[in-house]
Amino acid sequence: MPEPRVIDGRGMEPPEPLARALAELATLAPGEELVMLLDCEPLPLYAILDRNGFRYRSERRADGANEVHIQKA
């Protein structure tokens, strides 16, 4: 398993986390994972992932951050 790529978007002003995610998704290889740490639930990103063949799961961490794991479906 390759190391997941991580974007820590906490403290970034929108749409910077989304912009960074789009750049990473463009080069994400099958089996590779992108992990995003966010303060909010990224609904616009989910919509883009759904339409472009990515699967994802998100969980709320104890520190309040939202952790989103993304892979090519």
Partner: protein, 445 residues
């Protein structure tokens, strides 16, 4: 080249932009009413000029901007599907614009038939808008307090329109219509739902999301996100009882309800200012400063209300409601709306350019969409106009400079927004040209 990702059905950019680019023009029209009619406009809230100005601001500036934002916000942030957004915007936008012109003319010319025309136009436009919005908000997969509060705000708009139409019928058919409701009670309840149940409720619901997100503040405490909107809604329902229980006894009770509502709004403003003081980013952008100015206006509104309640010789003055109106409309609502437009339009430009296949090479940075200096300059003029309007309530001789400053501020805002729309068009054309020259075409251009 970065592969083009297809985006969810966000409404075309023209849907919100047609509303946004119309809104400030009617603020400018409101300023011109003050310039042309002069000090007599500020004699009381019931002067034809004051009524026309109020409705130009609330219906055409605020409602226009809020409808445009909501169409976009509900689709992009709440992930809800709006039914045929382009068609809805093409019907609702011109009708609201026309309705506001009819309504302002009805007040200025004191023509009864114009009230009836305005009412018919608004009921058609907002009936469609409210139906589409209610369906989208009830079906959205998104959860959270913001969505619940937006639903209540949409209900608030429904009540406001229904009461506004009743008022227009009452004014338009004075000789033919006998109603059991007192005109003043009807107006009190219409104003409370319009400003509290619709506009403030919308600001509150949106703030729970955008203040922490864009201003990098801590989140609002969960208990506050429940208490403030639920309390406000309950108080509005109690306030509405004056329609069915008029009389002197009710009057004392109603002023208590209003006072608690105003204290709740002031508490929300203070809480927002405290959150903003704990933000993680030190520099203050125009959006943050507009929000801060808005929340300070709301605090001063609440304090003024308390002073007017405790000192009847001040509160009984015909110009006291005008003082409150200036703090609420240009002070609170136009400040929030302008601050949000300066954030939303660059964001939508960026989002839609990405959607067209833009990359970091072909799309400008968010910060390049509207020059920072232009936003700050317009902001200074806006707050100067607000100060002049408040001063003109005290000294009506200042009506001319206040009206001119407010008109200029609205026109400058319009110019800044047009600039953002032109940046979008320029880069969209550039992206299209570069894609046409390349091998691949985007799947959604």
């Amino acid at each position: 080249m970065q592969p083009v990702l297809s985006f969810e059905q966000a409404p075309p950019i023209s849907v919100p932009y047609r509303f946004f680019l119309t809104a400030p023009l009617f603020g400018a029209a409101a300023g011109l009413v003050l310039v042309l009619l002069g000090p007599e406009t500020l004699q009381s809230r019931w002067s034809p000029g004051a009524l026309a100005m109020t409705h130009l601001i609330v219906v055409d500036f605020m409602l226009q901007a809020m409808c445009g934002s909501l169409l976009q916000f509900v689709a992009v942030v709440a992930g809800a599907n709006i039914w045929r957004p382009r068609l809805v915007a093409a019907v609702v936008h011109p009708l609201i614009t026309a309705g506001a012109i009819f309504l302002a003319s009805a007040f200025l010319l004191e023509q009864q038939v114009l009230f009836l025309v305005a009412a018919a136009v608004f009921v058609t436009a907002l009936g469609l808008f409210l139906t589409v919005m209610a369906i989208a908000l009830l079906r959205t997969p998104a959860r959270g307090m913001s969505i619940h509060v937006l639903r209540v705000a949409v209900l608030g708009l429904l009540v406001t329109v229904a009461l506004g139409a009743t008022l227009a019928l009452t004014l338009g058919l004075e000789e033919h219509l006998q109603t059991d409701w007192s005109l003043l009670a009807l107006i009190n309840v219409h104003v409370a739902w319009g400003l509290g149940g619709w506009a403030l409720m919308l600001v509150i619901g949106v703030s729970f999301l955008v203040v922490p997100m864009f201003q990098l503040t801590p989140s609002y405490p969960l208990w506050l996100t429940r208490l403030v909107p639920a309390g406000l809604f309950l108080l509005l329902c109690l306030w509405s009882l004056q329609l069915v229980a008029p009389g002197a006894g009710a009057q004392v009770w109603q002023s208590g309800v209003a006072l608690v509502g105003v204290l709740l709004a002031g508490f929300y403003a203070a809480a927002t200012l405290m959150l903003q003081s704990r933000r993680r980013r030190r520099q203050a952008d125009p959006t943050l400063l507009f929000w801060r100015g808005a929340m300070l206006s709301l605090l001063v509104f609440a304090l003024s209300w308390i002073v007017f309640e405790t000192l009847p010789q001040l509160g009984g003055n015909l110009r006291a409601p005008l003082w409150l109106g200036v703090l609420a409309l240009p002070g609170l609502f136009l400040s929030v709306i302008t601050g949000m437009l300066y954030k939303i339009m660059p964001f939508l430009n960026w989002l839609h350019l990405q959607q067209q296949g833009g990359t970091s090479m072909t799309s400008p940075n968010m910060k390049q969409m509207i020059p920072e200096a232009a936003m700050r300059g317009q902001m200074r003029l806006h707050f100067a106009a607000l100060a002049l309007l408040l001063a003109a309530v005290l000294w009506p001789a200042l009506a001319l400079p206040a009206g001119l400053a407010f008109t200029a501020s609205c026109l400058w805002l319009e110019w800044n927004l047009i600039g953002a729309a032109r940046v979008y068009a320029r880069f969209r054309d550039r992206i299209r040209a570069s894609l046409a020259g390349g091998a691949e075409a985007p799947d959604r251009a």
